[in-house]
């Protein structure tokens, strides 16, 4: 993609002012409910060679937090552990079994192979039957030690539950500070546990609708910085940024095709009629997908690329429709219960549809089985919106309001486990869960 023009003037005072620390709001996770019978697991402190660059980092603590916050596990406190084994053959199974533990994770880190890296060996044991379930090695750069711990937690989650964990993933979201009309908008990316939040764009004008590219390298979003909406794509690693749609009228709701080559988006033209289009990023070729006098917006691609789901009020109130991503296909209505069903998102396997529904005077997140048709409401708020599936499909993150502030929350797809991600200041909204990282 095209790079920004390289013109290098003297650094202006404005540039320095802009650099003054934009400290991102910190997110903190609270579990609000979990499963009634969590699996008992212990994560022993990892042994670290003194020369290991990760020597000061507590792998076990981060893994413990991940597993505990998933709501599926109960973690044995470190002070109750019968010793601190770092190898499977040093684990006395009966000692752990007697404490009600089913699984024990042990690990150790040594320096190398390259400078700044540690090699982490970890093993997962079923102490009920003595079986060793995992014995793996991970090279972890000290600078991204937390990510290494999340990856180990992902493996444990997968081995015990049969579903890959999504701890080593990221979320994008929008935060808003200040009272109207002088608000400040930030677009942020953080680890899935809310840590390591980084501001990737800041504006005095609204930022909205962040969407991840399938490879996790880019975000598409809407910015009003030019005093009208425009769609941008921005490479996270470099900040390289490209305005891909600034047409007359509305430019909104970008969604990447599964192969990353196209964006579905909403355009209105000067006449103000919103319809769904597909924009090919390499050629800028634009294809009109819907053509209806109602509002057609909030498109999202099905994971197989064969359909686009979108919101339309062509039948009165907003409902979710499906259409082929080619011109001329006739949209088929997907949601029927109630008068307001909008902003669809597909589960990674394409079998479930999450959307916002109006029920009992409140906007809530609902999920519908696309094969069976039945839907159920997952959340209890009055202003819940913007659901986004974790890449393992097990959890959704969404935005809600609590005491007048926008907050983020998660709910498991089965509705059993809920968490809140609280921001220490300002409002947070529009979470988008990123893909698995390579």
């Amino acid at each position: 993609m095209t790079k920004l023009k390289l013109l290098l003037p003297a650094l202006s005072a404005t540039a320095l002012a802009l650099l003054s620390p934009a400290v991102p709001a910190q997110l903190r996770i609270d579990i609000t409910s979990g499963v009634t019978d969590p699996i008992p697991v212990a994560v022993a402190r990892f042994a670290q060679e003194p020369a290991a660059p990760t020597a000061a980092f507590d792998f076990a603590e981060v893994i413990r937090q991940d597993l505990e916050r998933s709501g599926r596990f109960r973690l044995l406190p470190r002070e109750r552990m019968p010793g601190a084994p770092s190898r499977a053959d040093a684990v006395v199974a009966a000692d752990w079994r007697n404490l009600g533990t089913d699984y024990v994770l042990v690990g150790r880190a040594t320096a190398g192979p390259a400078a700044g890296q540690s090699t982490v060996d970890f093993e997962l044991l079923n102490v009920l039957n003595g079986q060793r379930l995992l014995s793996e090695r991970l090279v972890v750069p000290a600078a991204t030690a937390r990510n290494g711990a999340h990856r180990i937690a992902d493996r444990v989650h997968e081995k015990i539950l049969g579903v890959r964990g999504a701890f080593a993933t990221r979320i994008a979201y929008v935060s808003v500070d200040g009272a109207p009309p002088n608000q400040r908008y930030q677009l942020l990316v953080a680890d899935a546990d809310g840590e390591a939040a980084r501001v990737i764009l800041e504006s005095r004008q609204p930022l909205m609708s962040p969407a991840w590219s399938p490879d996790g390298e880019w975000l598409a979003y809407v910015s009003f910085e030019a005093r009208a909406s425009a769609v941008y794509v921005q490479r996270l690693r470099t900040g390289e940024r490209r305005r891909v749609s600034a047409r007359r009228g509305i430019n909104g709701a970008p969604s990447w095709s599964p192969d990353g080559s196209k964006l579905a988006l909403t355009l209105s033209g000067s006449g103000g009629n919103l319809d769904v289009y597909v924009l090919e990023l390499a050629t800028q070729a634009l294809t009109r997908i819907t053509d209806d006098p109602g509002i057609d917006t909030e498109p999202v691609w099905a994971p197989d690329g064969a359909a686009i789901y979108f919101t339309s009020d062509r039948s009165g109130g907003p409902q979710v429709y499906r259409v082929a991503p080619t011109p001329g296909d006739r949209p088929k209505r997907i949601t029927f219960g109630g008068g307001y069903n909008a902003r669809p998102r597909l589960s990674p396997d394409g079998t479930q549809l999450a959307f916002v529904t109006l029920e009992g005077g409140g906007y809530k997140v609902a999920i519908q089985d696309l094969a069976g048709g039945g839907s159920r409401v997952l959340t209890q708020g009055r202003f819940d919106e913007s659901p986004s599936f974790a890449p393992n499909g097990a959890t959704l993150i969404y935005a809600g309001r609590e005491r007048g502030q926008g907050t983020l929350a998660t709910v498991s797809a089965d509705g059993l486990i809920t968490q809140r991600l609280k921001s220490d200041r300002g409002e947070v909204r529009e979470p988008a869960w990123g893909p698995f990282l390579r």
């Binding site: 909205m208 005093r227 941008y232 047409r247 000067s270």
Partner: protein, 183 residues
């Protein structure tokens, strides 16, 4: 993070330069490109600056106050709407007639209509509802001031509330179209 500061500074310099060097986008001019025909540009406009993940870019300065009607009409630039409605109240028709007359008499002044919603409902759908309101005001102005009145619209949906809070009072202040002069 600290190690990357020089890189961040360089990125800022580059991106600001790109912003200054590129043409300001004519996002509110009449007679601009239509949806189907326009291409995209590759540089950000206005004071846009991109940033790497280790640093923040800052974009979108405040709108300046511009020329427009003076006196009482200057203070009556906001049309309010009922919930889920784009219908202009009868009382506001007379007000819109006065704005239409002023606009027709001052053809050199830029005008645009900014549509807004309250916070209920999904964000991009609300962009659509805000646009509907702005278009309703545009049609009313054209009706009052003649077909040659081509006033551009922009919808902010629920993104730029006038009042904070989850009360009906706040909601009713946020469901509005602002007539903005001089931008």
């Amino acid at each position: 993070m600290k190690k990357l500061l020089p890189l961040a500074v360089a990125l800022f310099a580059v991106s600001l330069a790109a912003g200054c060097a590129s043409k300001r986008a004519k996002t509110d001019g009449a007679g601009e490109e239509s949806v189907a025909s326009s291409g995209a540009t590759t540089t950000p406009d206005d004071s846009a600056s991109a940033s790497g993940i280790e640093s923040a870019g800052s974009v979108g300065g405040d709108m300046g106050a511009g020329a427009g009607p003076t006196g009482e009409l200057a203070n009556r630039r906001i049309i309010y709407f009922a919930f889920d409605s784009d219908e202009i109240r009868p009382d506001d028709q007379a007000l819109l007639a006065r704005h239409a007359q002023w606009i027709a008499a001052n053809p050199g002044t830029r005008v645009r209509l900014e549509g807004h919603t309250d916070e209920r409902g999904t964000r991009e759908y609300n962009i659509g509802l805000g646009e509907r309101r702005a278009q309703a005001v545009r049609r009313a102005l054209a009706l009052q001031g003649g077909a040659e009145l081509q006033v551009p619209t922009v919808s902010f949906g629920e993104e730029r509330p006038a009042a904070a809070g989850e009360t009906e009072e706040a909601f009713s202040q946020n469901r509005r179209v602002e007539i903005v002069y001089g931008n």
